[in-house]
Structures are given as C-alpha cells and as structure tokens.
C-alpha cells in the first residue's frame, strides 16, 4: 500500500513538472525539433544532471542499489528512438506528457492520445515475438552503464555530463541558439 501511495505522490509531482515546463503543449514539443524553443532539451538535461548526481551519490553512500538498468541493444534502442521521434513530431506529445495534458482537460490529448497508446500497446504485445527477440539480439550489451562499459569512474562521467549540459545551456540562453520563429 505504501508503495502505491509513493507512486501516486511522485506521479503528481512528475505531471506537475511536465505541466510547468510547458511540455503538455503541442508547440513546445514540436518547436524543439524546429529548433525555435529548446525547453524540452533544457528540461530533460537539467533533470538528468540532478538525477545522475542524486542516484550515483546515494549509491556511493550505500543508501540505494540500482533497480533494473534499461538494456542496451544498439540497433533496437536507435531504431526505437528514430520511430519514436516521428510519433512525437506528429502528435506533439510523448506518453507521459499526453497523460498530464489529459489531466488538464485537453480532449485532443485525452481521447486520440490515450486510445492511440492502447492500440499501439496491443499491436506491440501481439507482435512482440516476431519483432523484439531479433532486434534485441543485435549488438546487445545487456543491462550495462557507460562507466562500466568504458571502465571509468562514474563521478568523472557525471561531472563531464554536467559540464557539457551547462555549456549547452549557456549557448542556448546567451548566444541566441533560438532560431527566429516565423509562426509566432
């Protein structure tokens, strides 16, 4: 029961952050691909920097062990990402932002979005055995992390990632990486 309450509360904060970042709006998602508004990237990367520092520090302190690390199988991860980007640019959402947008009362999120995910999930579940074993067998590294793969100290990598992110944020904010938008 406690674990469900935690899930519900964390879900509320998760959906809240998606709403406040503006990601529950079609134009915010598609404009990152038009390179006119980088909020999606800024949101994702700052979230990654904070959470990387958090989980690696907590693990070093012995407070947590990592849950199942998402598996790396290069061809499938990449193809999946490529196909996912198509869906994102067309619909202007991803599964999480669509649910949060639905909570805001947007019917173009609530109805075609949730129905589409259900249909997609059914199609995937029914074709899983035809598709997944073959794709995931190619260049499969299992539940690996970059520090393990390259045999480097994770904190070195986290620091590097944080510096790259801050540099990118600086470029986006100061040097005017925002392309002029003809549609505003």
């Amino acid at each position: 029961m406690t674990t469900y309450i935690i899930a519900l509360v964390l879900g509320v904060f998760f959906g809240f952050s998606l709403n406040k970042a503006g990601l529950t709006k079609y134009h915010k998602i598609v404009n990152v691909f038009r390179l006119t508004d980088m909020a999606v990237l800024q949101f994702m990367m700052s979230g990654l920097v904070v959470s990387m520092i958090g989980v690696y520090s907590l693990r070093a302190l012995g407070a947590i062990t990592f849950p199942n690390i998402p598996a790396t199988y290069i061809v499938g991860n990449l193809i999946g990402g490529l196909v996912f980007g198509v869906g994102m640019a067309l619909s202007g959402y991803c599964p999480g932002t669509c649910v949060a947008g639905g909570g805001e009362g947007k019917l173009d999120y609530l109805i075609p979005g949730l129905l589409g995910f259900l249909v997609g999930a059914i199609l995937y579940g029914l074709t899983y055995q035809l598709v997944f074993p073959a794709i995931s067998a190619m260049a499969n590294y299992g539940n690996i992390t970059i520090p393990k793969l390259w045999n480097v100290n994770p904190f070195l990598f986290v620091t590097l990632f944080a510096f790259i992110s801050i540099l990118l944020f600086y470029l986006i904010d100061r040097a005017g990486l925002h392309r002029k938008d003809n549609n505003q």
Binding site: G47, S51, G80, E104, D108, F117, G125
Partner: protein, 181 residues
C-alpha cells in the same frame, strides 16, 4: 513566501527549475520504492488488462502473461498521479481546459498551421500515439522510462534513444512544416 507562491502560479516555469523537480522525482522513485519513472510500460499493463477481458485467447501470449503482465502495477499508479499532476499544474495557473471551448483542438500554433478542423488534429495525433507506443516497445522505454530513468543511471541505451528521437523529430518537423519550418 509571496514571491514563491507567485512563481508556482506561473503558467510556464524556467525549464531548469522544472527540470530540477523532475530530477528529484526520478531520484526519489529509486530511493523510496526501488522503481524507475516510466509511462509507456504502464500502457502495456493496461492493454493487457483490457485485452484479457475482451479476447482472453488472443492475449494469452508470452508478452501479456510474463513480460508485461496486466494489472495495477507501480507504473500504472504513477501514471494516474501524472494525470492529477497535470491537472494540479494547470489549476495553479488557471489554465484548466475541462469543458472549455477549444479543448478539443488545444494548441494555437497547430491551428495556425493546419487549420481548426478537430478531425485532422485527432487523426494525426492518434496515428502519432500508436507510433510512439510501438516505438517505445522496440526501444525498451519512452522519454521517461528510457531517456530520463535510463539516462540518470548512465545506460548507453538512453543516449542512443535520445539521439534517434531528435534526428527523426527534426526531419519530420521539417517535412510537416515545409516552407514554414
């Protein structure tokens, strides 16, 4: 204090402030309940529940029995929370759309580019959503379950996924927007 309340009420926060909140939520999920954030997986659980109720024989396969079994999983409860989180966020800025005119085609930029027809928005969004969920299955997660949750653990899979997502997203946005890109 008043300044903080005023900030919370803003419709759009700095993406960095919202991102920090996202990061903290991602860490707490692991710390408090040994789980990873995610969204697409929960739809697989829900699809399994729906499918097994309607056509039990068809859905009696390896995937819906063992890989993504149906039921009220941690991820499904998280997703219910996300729904109310979006609602709460919009409520604090007074931008809730429930019962409002325009809630069926909610984005001004969409309407300016593609017109006000609701069927058009819904048809493209529906197809997009099918593609999203299927792709998340192949990749091993979506923007939350793979890009954020996998990225924070430094799984190479997450960065491959993000690279693919931006590459094709840019191409499709160019195609869809044409001269107006």
């Amino acid at each position: 204090m008043k300044k903080m309340i005023d900030y919370i009420k803003k419709e759009i926060w700095s993406p960095y402030v919202a991102g920090i909140l996202l990061g903290v939520v991602g860490v707490l999920a692991v710390w408090l309940s040994d789980n990873l954030l995610g969204a697409s997986g929960a739809f697989e659980n829900i699809a399994g529940s729906v499918g097994k109720a309607i056509a039990p024989n068809l859905f009696d396969n390896l995937y819906f029995n063992f890989i993504m079994p149906p039921g009220l999983t941690w991820g499904v409860v998280l997703l219910i929370g996300v729904f109310f989180g979006g609602m709460l966020g919009a409520a604090t800025s007074g931008t809730l759309m429930w019962g409002k005119k325009g809630s069926a085609n909610s984005d001004a930029q969409w309407k300016r580019i593609f017109g006000p027809q609701i069927w058009k928005r819904w048809a493209i969004a529906f197809i997009g959503a099918i593609i999203l969920e299927y792709a998340a299955g192949i990749a091993g997660g979506c923007t939350s379950g793979l890009a954020i949750a996998g990225g924070m653990l430094l799984a190479p899979a997450a960065f491959l996924f993000i690279a693919g997502m931006f590459a094709s997203g840019i191409v499709i946005a160019r195609l869809v927007y044409g001269k107006r890109y």
